[in-house]
Symmetry: C2
Subunit: 318 residues, 2 copies
Amino acid sequence: MRALVFNGKLRFEMSYPDPSMEEGEALIRVLCVGICNTDLEIVKGYMSYSGIVGHEFVGVVEDCHDQRWIGKRVVGEINCGCGSCRICQNGIEKHCPERTVLGIVRRNGVCADYITLPVENLHMIPDSIADEEAVFVEPLAAAFRVVEQVPIASSHKVIVLGDGKLGLLVVQVMQMMRCDLTLIGKHESKLRIAQQQGIAAAFAEQYKGGKADVVVDCTGSPDGFESALGLTRPEGILILKSTFAQKANLNMSPIVVDEMTLIGSRCGPFGPAIDGLARGVIRVKPLVTRIMPFEMGVEAFGIASQRETLKVLLRVSS
Amino acid sequence: MRALVFNGKLRFEMSYPDPSMEEGEALIRVLCVGICNTDLEIVKGYMSYSGIVGHEFVGVVEDCHDQRWIGKRVVGEINCGCGSCRICQNGIEKHCPERTVLGIVRRNGVCADYITLPVENLHMIPDSIADEEAVFVEPLAAAFRVVEQVPIASSHKVIVLGDGKLGLLVVQVMQMMRCDLTLIGKHESKLRIAQQQGIAAAFAEQYKGGKADVVVDCTGSPDGFESALGLTRPEGILILKSTFAQKANLNMSPIVVDEMTLIGSRCGPFGPAIDGLARGVIRVKPLVTRIMPFEMGVEAFGIASQRETLKVLLRVSS
């Protein structure tokens, strides 16, 4: 099969071995994939990963021991726990120390003609959601994770820092909470997308609105993290969505002096994400910069890493 | 008056100007002071402070508009808010952006014959608490802050990392919560103090007890912070008690990947600290390495910064 493989270098391969379906898994033909910032970090060396890249996808189940799944259009949760440890027994497979993670930790990713995933990772996609929207379910679930960790009230002043793909999803989830909300970013075109959805948005250097009760750092950079600290009020909450490959030179003392709470936030619940897209409450089509044919995967990664780009999708099959 | 003054260099001065008492303040004759790690950081440049050093003290009120305080033995909270901003109105003066802090931010500290403090910062000390114990009220309050921020249940596995002065106080507060508790440190003599109080203690390199639900970092070093991250379970809580002067080169991604919660923790409630000492539940005398005459203040700072030292006290008057 065709696959986009990272092995120190990113290459499009025409005859990668087909995956073999294990017990409890489904074989899925990939329709469309999205390129995420974590993918871009991975091809810079993050997690020392090698194998097929990518973890955001929508596909069709081609084979499965449970006949009900066959022919269904699905998206999939990316963490596969061992199933037997105490953490998996408690239902948080995403933190299993033995887990594999699609395209991130010891499990081939989704930039391929076929993938396999455990059936319990799959979620069906209603017909009202297009492929180009369905690929956003995984990152949108990560955005919903924020409000699962920190209940947001309408009285909260909230800043989402970073106008990239994830920031533009988080800010829409926050908008659903009817809080006092501002997106702070650096790109006029990206800030405008939020403004067109009725969200207050400001350039970082022009923002004068004061510190917030809750700040969500979606910048993906150490500098962004330090800015986020500066925007969080004493005893406020800073939610960290960014992972970056490099070590960062940080001054931690404001966290102690201002008694901030920092919360790391990763994968989230697929249900609200699918529902938000199906109901049209969350709008992701404005975030798609380019849809490219699968064969142009290497070029697509290059375009995805450019400053003005938001989401780049690869059309794998139809 | 006599005073221990930092001005790029630490000096014992014989004729420093007496403080003048402002409205609402008390004039206090200092009996005894304790040297804290924050003081040691300050003479390395932390907070760019200059003035009289020190913030842990016990003294006697010599003058006050409210006669009830005169002659009373007192300790004092170290943060002085502006009293009028929204944060002060909400009762959290310690986070007032205009605050002064005893011996730390634009307010002369306690290593002096006399100090002044607002009356609302003062707490009376019962006769059953000796001067050498009373100086621990401020750092012990900081230890109690931890359980004010994170309710600890007996089912919690808790690690206190760092067997210094603060760690040995935090671990005693945690012991009151009857949780599954371990102190991890690097000094046999310090670990033994905890063990003699019935607390499990282990050398860092020998600890094999697994990750904890709650870790309290009392190491005061960037290396300690990274160890603390490694000891915190996924979705666990890491409480940061350490402030250090320098920037640290840190890998933040475990916080995100393991969805940890980091909580900065500073000053705490004086009531439980005074009560804990008065009831003898908290034992601080084993933490006193040396009691030195005030005139030897500069030498005392040198001794306080040595590896095997715990608390160094200065006897100012009697």
